[in-house]
C-alpha cells in the first residue's frame, strides 16, 4: 500500500498545489473584503460578498447568460458529435480521410485557432472579406445588442471544436460496444430512429455523460480566451469573465472570488449527476 501512495503522490501534489490550494485561497478571500487598493489586509466579512451578489441584477444576468451558453453549446456539440460518430461508425471508402477531417478542429491547437477564428469573424484591418464580416457584425449586434457578434463567434468556435472532440470520443465509445448489441437491435426494430433512442443512446450513455462534462469545462475556458483576447470587448457578462473584471480591473478580490466560486457548485452538481452514468458504484465489478 505504501507503493500505491507513493505513486499517487506526484499527481496529487500537482493537483493540490496548482488547484486545491488556490481554490482554498479563493474560498477564504470570498469571505473577506481583500483588495490591493486597501491599506489593511483581508478582513473577514462573512457572507457579505455573497449577499451582495445575490441581490445584484447584473449577477443574475450573468448567470442566465452562462447557463444558457453552457447548455446551448453542450447540446449543439452533443448533437453534432453524435452525428459525426454515427457517420463514421460503419466502414466506407475514404473513411480515414473524413475521420481526420473531423479530428482536425480539435487537433488544431485552440490557443491559436481561437485567435484566427476571432480575427476571421471580426477582421481587425481591411482585408478582402472585412466589409462582408463588418456588415454581418453590425446586423447581429444591431439585432441582439452590443457584443452579440463577438459572443456568437465564441459560441460557434466552442461548438466547432467541441463537436470534433465529442465525435471522435463517441466513435471510440461505439467501437467499445460489442457489435452484437447493435445487431440485436436491428432484429428488434426496423425504425432507425427508435433504434437510436432505445439502443444506441443507452449503450453510449457513459461516454455521452463523460463527453457532456468535458464539454462544459471547455466552454468556460474558450470564453475566457476570447475575453482576454479582445480586452473585454465581449460585452455579454458571463460569470467567469465578470469575476476577472472585478478582480483585475476593479481590484475587488473578495467579491470577485465569491462570484467565480458560484460556478463550482453548479459544475459539481452536474458532475455528481453524471458520475452515476459513467462511474457506477463498485458492485458491478467482480
Amino acid at each position: 500500500m505504501a507503493t500505491a501512495y507513493l505513486l499517487l503522490a506526484p499527481a496529487t501534489v500537482l493537483l493540490l498545489g496548482m488547484l486545491a490550494y488556490p481554490l482554498g485561497w479563493e474560498v477564504w478571500i470570498s469571505f473577506t473584503d481583500f483588495s490591493p487598493l486597501n491599506d489593511h489586509g483581508p478582513r473577514f466579512v462573512g457572507l457579505e460578498n455573497y449577499r451582495h451578489l445575490l441581490a445584484d441584477a447584473e449577477f443574475w444576468r450573468a448567470v442566465v447568460v452562462t447557463v444558457g451558453f453552457a447548455a446551448a453549446t453542450t447540446l449543439a456539440k452533443l448533437a453534432l458529435g453524435v452525428a459525426f460518430a454515427l457517420l463514421l461508425a460503419r466502414p466506407f471508402r475514404g473513411r480515414t480521410l473524413v475521420f481526420l477531417a473531423i479530428f482536425l478542429p480539435w487537433a488544431y491547437p485552440a490557443s491559436v485557432s481561437v485567435i484566427g477564428w476571432y480575427w476571421t469573424l471580426s477582421p481587425p484591418i481591411p482585408t478582402a472579406y472585412s466589409p462582408f464580416m463588418g456588415t454581418l457584425k453590425y446586423t447581429v449586434d444591431g439585432a441582439l445588442g452590443g457584443g452579440a457578434w463577438a459572443f456568437l463567434s465564441v459560441t460557434l468556435f466552442n461548438i466547432w471544436r467541441g463537436s470534433s472532440f465529442i465525435g471522435v470520443f463517441l466513435l471510440a465509445g461505439i467501437n467499445a460496444v460489442p457489435p452484437e448489441l447493435f445487431e440485436c437491435a436491428l432484429l428488434e426494430s426496423r425504425s432507425a430512429w427508435r433504434r437510436f433512442w432505445l439502443v444506441t443512446v443507452p449503450l453510449l450513455r457513459p461516454f455521452l455523460a463523460l463527453a457532456v462534462f468535458l464539454s462544459l469545462t471547455t466552454a468556460f475556458a474558450d470564453l475566457a480566451n476570447v475575453w482576454l483576447l479582445t480586452a473585454g470587448r465581449v460585452v455579454f457578462p458571463v460569470v467567469g469573465t465578470q469575476a476577472y473584471w472585478l478582480a483585475i480591473k476593479g481590484g475587488q478580490f473578495g467579491p470577485a472570488s465569491a462570484l467565480s466560486l458560484m460556478l463550482v457548485p453548479f459544475l459539481l452538481a452536474v458532475l455528481a449527476l453524471l458520475f452515476r452514468a459513467f462511474d457506477p458504484p463498485a458492485e458491478a465489478r467482480a
Binding site: P10, A11, L14, L15, P22, A110, S111, P123, T127
Partner: protein, 290 residues
Amino acid sequence: MNPRPWWRRAGHAGLLLVATVYCVFPIYFMFVQSLKTAQEDVFGNPFIVTNPTLENFEELFERKGQPRNFVGRALRRDYPFFVWLENTIVIFGGSVAITLAAGVAAAYALGRLQPPGFRWWRRAIFATYVVPHTILFVPLYQVIIRLGLDDNPVVLLLVYPTMALPFCVWILSAYFQNLPREIEESALVEGASRAAAFYRIVLPMSRPVLIAAGIFALGTIASDFMIASVFLLSEHNQTIPAGLATMEVALDELLAVAGINLMAIPVVLLCAVFARGYVRGLTAAMIEGA
C-alpha cells in the same frame, strides 16, 4: 442485408461532405490567408490564393536587429519567433511527459494496487475539472511567486499537467483495472521483479492508451494561451500562443496568421499520425471500463 439504395448512399456521402467542409473550412481559410501577399489579402478573393508565397513564414524567422519596413510611420516590431518556438517545444514536450508520468503512476496505483478508498480518490482527481482555471489566476499567481517562478516558463510545466491529468488518470486507471492481473503475475513467475513486470510488460502493452492520454494532453495543453500569456511576461519567455497574442494585429495580421499555422502544423501532424491510436486507446480504456 440488402444493399442500401442509391439515394441512401448519396445521402450518406452528402452528409460526409458537409461534415468535412464544416470541420476543415475555417482551417483552410486561415491557411490560405497565411500564403497571401499583403496586396492579395486586401484585394484578392478571400477563399483562394492566386500567388502563394511563403514570405510571411520567412519573415517570422528573420533575426532580431535586422531592419524591417515601415507601414506608414509605424515601425513594425520584430518578434523572437525562434525563441517562442523553442519555448513552446520544451514546454509542450515537458508538460506532456510530466502528465503521462504522473498520470501513469497514479492510474496504476488506483487501477491496480487499489488502496483503500481508491474509488473516491479517483473521483476526487476527476472532480478537479469543476474548477475552471480561469477563476484561479490571482491565487495561482501567489503560489507561483512563492515558488520563485515568476515569469518563468517552468510555471507552465506545473500548471499544464493539472489540466490534462484528471482525464488521463481516469482513462488509464480504467484500463489498468481491466487488464488481466494474470499477465503481470505471469511475468512475476517468469522471473521479473514488480518493477520489471511493469515496464517490460504492462507499459508496452498499454501503448494505445498511453497514446490516447498523450494526444489528449497535447490537445489540451495546446489549447491554452491564456495561462501562458498571464504568467509569462517577458518576450523571450513566451510560447507561440502567448507571443502571437501580443502581436500588433493591425500591422502584422498576415505574419500572425502564418505563426498560427506554423504552431499548428506540427501539433496537427502529431495528432494525425496518432489519430488511429488515439481512438484505439480510448476504446481500449472504455471497454467494460469507463
